[in-house]
């Protein structure tokens, strides 16, 4: 099992943070274009899911998977979106993504008045904490994958 990469978007579609671990294939476009493409797709999936759902939804879009990877999605009511790609063996990650929001993003970015909101995150502290958080996840290791 493994974690491939992680995106954090804000409510306006700005990519606040990106990091990757076991990504074997790159998109072949610039990172900026990749972020836009990713956000555009997420935005469309959200509206698609809410229109197509035959019932009132609680959480909306949660995840999708292809033959090779799984995309986990978490959105806060303020519109912060955390997206993590893993391999197929990884179970529901909502708690993990919520934890990234509540113990990392809120603690090191929102509570740091010198971190402007709505821009790419520059905080070293945040990046290093996120790095160690992800590396310590039980499903991080690439061995079983």
């Amino acid at each position: 099992m493994t974690v491939h990469n992680l995106y954090i978007f804000d409510r306006n579609g700005t990519c606040l943070h990106y990091s990757e671990w076991n990504r074997k294939k790159q998109a072949g476009i610039s990172k900026e274009e990749e972020y836009k493409l990713m956000y555009g797709m997420l935005f469309s999936i959200r509206s698609f899911v809410s229109k197509m759902s035959p019932l009132d939804m609680k959480d909306g879009f949660l995840a999708f998977q292809t033959s090779r990877y799984k995309l986990h999605y978490y959105e806060t009511p303020t519109g912060v979106k955390i997206v993590m790609n893993t391999d197929l063996g990884v179970p529901n990650c909502r708690d993990v993504l919520h934890q990234i929001y509540s113990t990392l993003y809120v603690e090191y970015i929102v509570k740091n008045p010198l971190c402007p909101l709505g821009e790419t995150l520059q905080s070293e502290l945040f990046s290093s904490r996120l790095e160690s958080f992800i590396r310590a996840l039980p499903f991080f290791s690439a061995r079983a994958g």
């Binding site: 579609g13 009511p77 509540s102 993003y105 809120v106 909101l117 160690s132």
Partner: protein, 196 residues
């Protein structure tokens, strides 16, 4: 002995875990007097810096707004409150969860407008004014106006444009302190410009 060493490695391994309740959660329980007095010093300084009360009110509101847009993230991270589906639910969350969490009080929600887009928060006690007496020459000062800004800023971040103002204030001789909230509109999310 071996058990002892075992425990230390375990705690070392756990070092990077943050407490699930954030640091500020225990902070405000620690000393609300410090908060009240700091707020008092802030208002005093603003009154010195600006000639008229209107301007002080405006500055307090602006500062509150800036606090609110950040505070909402802390609030959502610590409470497991999801998106509210109507204004009544919002009112309940504000009064019963948010005020309780940050100020230790639970205002009552009353005076609903027939359309359900307007309500009042009645504060039995206002921790911000614990040691305050308004001098006569500040009759138009809305001492706790920071709260209005906080509410407005926080709600704006969850796509709600709301008008917030003090309708009554015990500091100015009213029987109760009343914050009036009026729902203006839902802020729509847009796809950022430049996308196909």
């Amino acid at each position: 002995m071996s058990r002892q060493s075992n425990r230390t490695t375990e705690s070392k391994k756990m070092l990077w875990y943050l407490p699930f309740i954030s640091a500020s959660a225990s902070m405000h329980r620690m000393n609300s007097e410090l908060f009240t007095l700091t707020y008092g010093a802030l208002v005093t300084q603003l009154c010195k810096d600006y000639e008229n009360d209107e301007e002080v009110n405006k500055q307090l509101d602006k500062m509150g707004y800036n606090i609110g847009v950040r505070l909402i993230e802390d609030f959502l991270a610590r409470s497991s409150v999801g998106r509210c589906h109507d204004f009544r639910e919002t009112a309940d969350v504000i009064a019963k969860v948010a005020f309780k969490m940050y100020l230790g009080i639970t205002p009552s929600v009353t005076n609903w407008s027939p359309a359900g887009d307007e309500f009042s928060l009645i504060l039995e006690s206002n921790p911000l004014v614990d040691f305050v007496e308004l001098p006569d020459n500040h009759s138009t000062l809305v001492y706790s106006n920071l709260l209005c800004g906080v509410l407005r800023g926080a709600l704006e971040m969850v796509q709600m444009a709301v008008d917030v103002r003090f309708a009554q204030d015990t500091l100015r001789g009213d029987n109760v302190t009343e914050i009036r909230m009026k729902f203006i509109k839902r802020i729509e999310e847009n796809l950022p410009a430049g996308d196909e």
